[in-house]
Symmetry: C2
Subunit: 315 residues, 2 copies
């Protein structure tokens, strides 16, 4: 891969970062993203955009990074023994939005390109990423629409792409100690290089754009829902599960911390305010129990029966 | 080891649990501990005592457990290959107290006995545990007294016991991604079987009792300090580091979750309310920066110069 190609990806990723920030700011109104640039010890760095204490957004991070180094972490080359100790570049956009309103779900997007120079000077490369949604309150139509957009975005790239990446997502964002998924899923993929490079870049760009349009739709739909202290407390409780997943299982977080990355940027994904109470809200018939039973397991959200339910069905 | 011996330990551990609960309740006044019993899938179970939303105590857990099973987790027998796939019993008391007042530190105690039946029917056993203190605000005299009590408790068991276990504690309760210790340390030990069984039991019992007297002293000393929303926010911020340590590094937590233990009892250690903000309070000269620089690194707290400083030296 020539450096022109890396530059093309870099520009595409930076343009996506800018678009996401602009659209979220337009919804937010009160606060704007603050930029923080950082350097990576062995080359390159990042451009973190953080918004905190907004009217709509309690905390959001929209990060771009482009780093290089002499070798990938061992865990990243387990399946690629020929690439151990070879120079690499990694580019990515990583987004997490924690809204104020408990009726607007938390959302997450990541797209990335890894390229490694082999000993014979040829280049190995693969894209990865995905997006997923973590509601506190269940609306089946939101889940349906979120997955419908994901499915339609994947469709031009192959008939089974959505099903495969949806299944990956359910498997990845799972908390075994809670026996529940992190949220209602979406897409998760690694090792994307089954198409030409240009086509793969089109795919992750389409993923980024569809994340934004899909999430903006949910913000519009839920931002006027009234809520009080009880809903905020339930949100802080659910966010505890988000922290548990990210610190116990998320490979990106763990690899980042192990490789001495920018700690604050890596942990930007953690929710702003969180509560842990012993056996909180697990009483039979409680909102929490209903929500966990109905939403926090792999579900075929494309099923038309989920399309039109506008009730808060956890209540 | 005959079953009488296990019963002796069981009674000593349960008595300690009861003493700790009684003394904390006497300080707390408003709320009492709630008992929750649970069963372990392969035998035995636990008796969790939880106090939440108290006047003095925001959240505390004082847990006793006595479980048995056909084999220890692989990680627990790495140093003991002869004990793989042999039946074991594990008894323990585990305590975490998160006070309301940010001037009273969070504290943690654990004592445990593991016994494993070898293939020749003989018994391998070892005690483990320790205690450590996690303040939000630094008072050198508190650190000095905490370590002085630890040192005096260890002294009858050997001249170098305190130094060894204090060093273990500094090394264990360390967050590499933050380059700081979890708190100001205390004692941490594993593989305690260098003395006769009775003597080892005396040691961990002395550890449990000295934890209680030492912590009650700090509660008395700090409980009348006035605080406001800023101090509470700083407490929630510092508690984020506590969560990070427990979910990223604490072996007890990770083994417990991997071995399908009682999730709510294992995660009882997590603080009740937590905040993560991007680059929170890291401005030069801030309280956070001063506290991190002065307190969150291995320190010889026995040094007499720390004994009499009653100032809140982070301000």
């Amino acid at each position: 891969m020539i450096s022109n190609t890396i530059q093309t990806v870099r520009h595409a990723f930076q343009a996506l970062q800018q678009r996401i920030c602009s659209h979220l700011e337009a919804e937010e109104k009160k606060k704007t993203f603050q930029q923080q640039k950082w350097s990576y010890p062995t080359g390159g760095g990042g451009d973190s955009r953080i918004l905190s204490f907004g009217a709509l957004i309690e905390k959001a991070g929209v990060n771009f990074s482009h780093i290089e180094g002499p070798s990938l972490p061992p865990a990243a080359t387990l399946k690629r023994p020929g690439l151990t100790d070879q120079p690499f570049q990694a580019l990515g956009v990583s987004v997490v939005v924690h809204p104020q309103n408990p009726y607007i779900p938390t959302s997450h997007l990541n797209i990335r390109l890894i390229s490694v120079q082999r000993a014979d000077q040829s280049i190995a490369w693969w894209f990865g990423g995905g997006y997923d949604l973590t509601p506190c309150y269940g609306f089946t139509e939101d889940c349906h629409d979120w997955h419908m957009t994901a499915s339609q975005t994947c469709q031009p790239f192959g008939a089974d792409v959505y099903q495969q990446y949806k299944k990956n997502c359910d498997q990845y964002f799972y908390l075994p100690h809670r026996q529940e998924t992190r949220g209602i899923g979406g897409l998760f993929f690694d090792d994307v290089n089954q198409w030409e490079f240009e086509r793969c870049l089109q795919f992750v760009t389409a993923i980024g754009n569809s994340y934004l349009s899909s999430y903006l739709q949910l913000i519009q739909r839920r931002k006027t829902h009234q809520y009080g202290p009880n809903e905020k407390q339930f949100q802080r409780y659910r966010r505890g599960r988000y922290v548990e997943f990210n610190l116990l299982y998320d490979r990106g977080t763990l690899f980042g911390l192990q490789s001495q990355g920018a700690t604050e940027s890596i942990l930007m994904s953690l929710p702003p305010s969180v509560e842990w109470q012993y056996n909180w809200g697990l009483h039979p018939g409680s909102i929490e129990e209903n929500f966990s039973k109905k939403y926090l397991k792999p579900t075929d959200w494309l099923n038309p029966k989920f399309a039109s339910n506008t009730q808060r069905s956890t209540l």
